[in-house]
């Protein structure tokens, strides 16, 4: 047993001693680095280690939580004591019971040794390559605001008074840039990014080229005419919407009447073209792990299949409320957060037609490459959205002039219902959680410009 598991076990004991009836501890230790590059130089180089523990304590059906960074015996005891104290303040909830152990299958492939092997100088060279590629891609790319490279390797351990015990390691890394292009009297920005388990898996040239292409494509953009028309969503944009839909399929929101999908289980919500699943074990997904934030096995859950809403996502608490089983969907943002229901990796099944055919099927419409204001422009309770967007016009089935300063508006249920086709080329996107999606053709969406 590793030191981290020992610490977690000690925290559980301490919470019981402090008066908790049941307790669970989640500990993590992480080493990471970040390189920022600008103008051919390394702007900053960060080396980081962090570790901490979060303790959940139950007193009957009352739950409390505490976390901290002090992993000494006294520190852990203090955190555990605060968790028990917090539980005493909460109200009784008959469904708030600790998870019971379930068989967890190992999940290899979550760690890439290149994270450990690469030196910071190599990481800096990768970031510089991204910048150089973007600048060389097109003379209209005048600068790169910043290239960021970051990686981390994490170990997670969980232990509980009900006998749960588990541990795993995972690594991940990403690089992105914001390219600046100028032309026709205006300045445009373009994002390029790549994700992998380790730096060996990144393609710096592709990342730089993407940022340059996105920025230059927007030069000379104008407002589209307001209308309802076919819209093609780029995978980065589709991912944001898929993330919102996945979030609204969490049982917590559904049970508390704060999801547009409440009461819709089994309904035909989408065309056959759309299949959506949550898969916490796909090795390519950055949210994959052998077990979830409360130690239960991650798994695959089909959410939308054959156009029908097949399932919601559950953690132990929401599952108890409905008398069903957890789908292994308790997520945490590290040791600082209580586990709560949320998707792991959301995967939209790719369709049969490629991007050119998707545009051809759209005919006359808009290709949306960026959205802004998702935080304020989407109501997760009602599903109604109105967000800022930019992209390209689609004319006679082909990409035409760039468009900016418009909004797209609708609601998540209607959006699902009007997905006409999914493209054949999927991509992992870190927006909206961890999402793999192809471009999507929406039959009709309200575009508001001039």
């Amino acid at each position: 047993m590793s030191e981290l598991s020992t610490t977690a076990g000690r925290a559980v004991e301490a919470a019981l001693t402090a008066g908790a009836g049941e307790a669970e501890a989640y500990a993590s230790r992480e080493a990471g680095r970040e390189v920022r590059v600008h103008g051919g130089e390394v702007e900053s180089l960060t080396a980081a280690t962090q570790s901490g523990i979060g303790v959940r304590a139950w007193i009957g059906g009352r739950v409390g939580y505490a976390y901290g960074t002090d992993l000494s015996a006294a520190g852990v005891a203090a955190i555990a004591g605060r968790a028990a104290e917090a539980a005493a303040v909460a109200d009784e909830d008959e469904f708030a019971l600790p998870p019971q152990p379930a068989a967890v299958e190992a999940l290899p492939g979550l760690s890439d040794p290149s994270v450990e092997v690469w030196t910071s100088a190599q990481a800096a060279a990768l970031a510089l390559t991204v910048e150089r590629t973007a600048l060389a891609a097109d003379p209209r790319v005048v600068a790169v605001e910043q290239v960021v490279y970051a990686d981390s390797a994490e170990r997670v351990a969980i232990a509980s008074s009900t006998g749960l015990a588990g541990e795993y390691e995972a690594s991940d890394c990403f690089a992105y840039l914001q390219a600046l292009a100028e032309g026709e009297g205006g300045r445009e920005t373009g994002l390029g990014f790549g994700l992998a388990r380790g730096p060996d898996g990144l393609e710096p040239e592709a990342i730089g080229t993407e940022g340059a292409a996105r920025a230059t494509a927007m030069i000379g953009a104008s407002k589209p005419v307001s209308r309802a028309c076919p819209v093609v969503l780029d995978p980065t944009v589709a991912a944001s919407f898929v993330g919102l839909i996945g979030g609204a399929l969490g049982a917590n929101a559904v049970q508390r009447g704060r999801s547009p999908f409440a009461g819709r289980l089994g309904d035909e919500l989408a065309a056959d073209a759309l299949a959506l699943r949550d898969d916490g074990r796909d090795p390519a997904g950055s949210a994959s792990a052998p077990f979830d934030g409360e130690g239960l096995p991650r798994r695959r859950t089909d959410l939308i299949e054959g156009g029908r809403l097949r399932a919601f996502l559950y953690d132990t608490y929401t599952a108890k409320r409905e008398g069903v089983g957890s789908t292994g969907s308790a997520s945490r943002h590290g040791y600082r957060s209580l586990p709560s229901v949320s998707p792991s990796n959301l995967i939209v099944a790719p369709g049969a037609i490629d991007f050119a055919e998707l545009l051809a099927a759209a005919g006359e419409g808009v290709f949306v490459t960026d959205v802004a204001g998702l935080h304020s422009g989407v109501n997760p309770v009602t599903g109604v959205f109105s967000v800022g967007a930019s992209g390209r016009a689609i004319r006679a089935g082909e990409l035409a002039e760039p468009l900016r300063e418009f909004t797209i508006a609708g609601d998540l249920i209607s959006l699902l219902g009007s997905v006409r086709a999914a493209g054949s080329e999927s991509r992992w996107v870190p927006f909206g959680g961890s999402v793999s999606t192809p471009p999507l053709l929406i039959g009709e969406l309200a575009v508001s410009g001039s």
């Binding site: 900053s44 180089l45 280690t49 303040v89 445009e188 009447g257 802004a372 304020s376």
Partner: protein, 428 residues
């Protein structure tokens, strides 16, 4: 105030950081304590507390910053972080200056939230729940959260500065869901300040009623109009609009990289002469106020727009050094795990001479945005979006009906120039 790290330890850490050269070194130590809880389905839940401490050490050499951070404040760990930050450097050892403590006066906290019993905070949330549900049977759901956070910081640098701050912020939020048949609407309100529990001693239940009323109002709302039209922005939210729309473009890191539409525009007329705007980190009790910034620079009031002319950018130490100016006390870090960057404190537009009624009366057709749910800007292009959480249609000089789901969109250069009246009722 007491330091989180002993000055002698800080000096050793700074010396270790400059062991391989570099022109500037700094250690930033922080203790963070937080407590929060919420009420949902009229039940107190998610009661949680956190305690973290750690430090970040940076060394600046040439155009590069080397940074390492550790959890905990053990002197040996701090020295290890300093060695880690310096490890990529190959220069001559530099000696940091002897530390000299600079006094700073943290914002006063009348009633320390951690000394208020948790049961009192739970009682407060129950009161909010009752007040919101008392607004009528159409209030189907109500959730509210309480959060307190204390950040104690100590900064020491190789120029000999030793300073610190002790910051406590308290906040409550309320979200209501109203339902009538198939129609569902939401309303939200928050109250937060750089204050202690005294913030919640007046009438905190008021925000619960406001959130509920917003949701109820929207049940009667129609769709938002589309197209370009004049907009009247409600008091308090003009500052929010300015913060998102223009403020980010004044942060010197964006400006120096050419990633701001305001780069090269110092002294230029960017708004009508009636507009004056400030960034002020010294406003008593305000959310964005602190005694010092996260680099130990005292916070200040900076006029960024004077009679429509752009008069200043917002700086941290490094960006100020690059422009050969004094830092403006805007060096902010998310935590000891982050490098400082120049970010706004409290931004606001100075009050003018018009009233909202006058502005509305002048419009044949327009939109009255009373409050925003949030916004976003790309400082490089100036394109912005704002979600309106409470908005009304203006027709023939009168507010006629509420609108749901409105989003304001535009470009900040044009929008700022198009501000042609400023209201006289000032609040943050």
């Amino acid at each position: 105030m007491s330091e989180l790290i002993d000055p002698a330890v800080a000096e050793r850490v700074l010396a270790r950081a400059l062991a391989n050269g570099g022109r500037f070194a700094e250690v930033f130590a922080e203790r963070r304590q937080g407590f929060s809880m919420s009420i949902d389905e009229s039940r107190i839940e998610a009661v949680q507390s956190g305690a973290e401490e750690g430090a970040g050490v940076r060394v600046v050499a040439g155009g590069t910053t080397y940074f390492a951070h550790v959890d905990g404040l053990d002197p040996a760990d701090l020295e290890r972080a300093a060695a880690e930050a310096a490890s990529a450097l190959r220069g001559e050892r530099r000696e940091p200056r002897a530390l000299e403590a600079v006094a700073s006066t943290p914002l006063p906290i009348e009633r320390r939230p951690e000394e208020v019993p948790a049961a009192r905070k739970a009682e407060l949330l129950r009161e909010l729940d009752e007040r919101a549900r008392g607004q009528g049977g159409e209030i189907a759901q109500f959730t509210s959260s309480y959060a307190e956070a204390r950040r104690q910081v100590t900064v020491a640098n190789s120029d000999g500065l030793l300073s610190g701050d002790d910051r406590t912020r308290t906040r409550i939020g309320a979200q209501a869901v109203a339902r009538r048949g198939d129609a569902v609407e939401t309303g939200a309100e928050t109250l937060g300040a750089h204050r202690g529990f005294e913030l919640l001693e007046d009438d905190p239940g008021e925000i619960a009623e406001q959130a509920a009323r917003k949701a109820l109002t929207l049940l009667d709302a129609g769709p938002a109009p589309s197209g370009s039209m004049p907009v009247v922005v409600g008091g308090g939210f003009g500052g929010v609009l300015f913060h998102e729309m223009t403020g980010h473009g004044l942060e010197a890191d964006h400006v120096q990289k050419g990633a701001s539409v305001y780069a090269g525009k110092l002294g230029a007329q960017v708004a009508q002469p009636l507009l004056n705007a400030y960034d002020d980190g010294r406003l008593p009790s305000e959310w964005g106020s602190d005694a010092i910034d996260d680099e130990g620079v005292p916070t200040q009031k900076t006029q960024v727009i004077e009679a429509g002319r752009l008069t200043a950018y917002l700086y941290d130490r490094l960006t100020a050094e690059r422009d050969g100016v004094a830092p403006t006390g805007n060096g902010r870090r998310e935590s000891f795990r982050h490098l400082p960057i120049p970010r706004m404190t409290n931004t606001y537009i100075a009050p003018g001479e018009s009233t909202a009624e006058e502005m509305i009366a002048e419009l044949d057709q327009g939109f009255y945005a009373v409050s925003f749910g949030g916004g976003q800007v790309d400082p490089a292009t100036g394109d912005f979006v704002f979600g309106v959480s409470e908005g009304y249609l203006i027709e023939a000089g009168k507010v006629t009906r509420p609108c749901r789901g409105a989003t304001l969109i535009g470009n900040c250069l044009e929008a700022l120039m198009a501000i042609d009246a400023v209201g006289d009722d000032f609040f943050m």
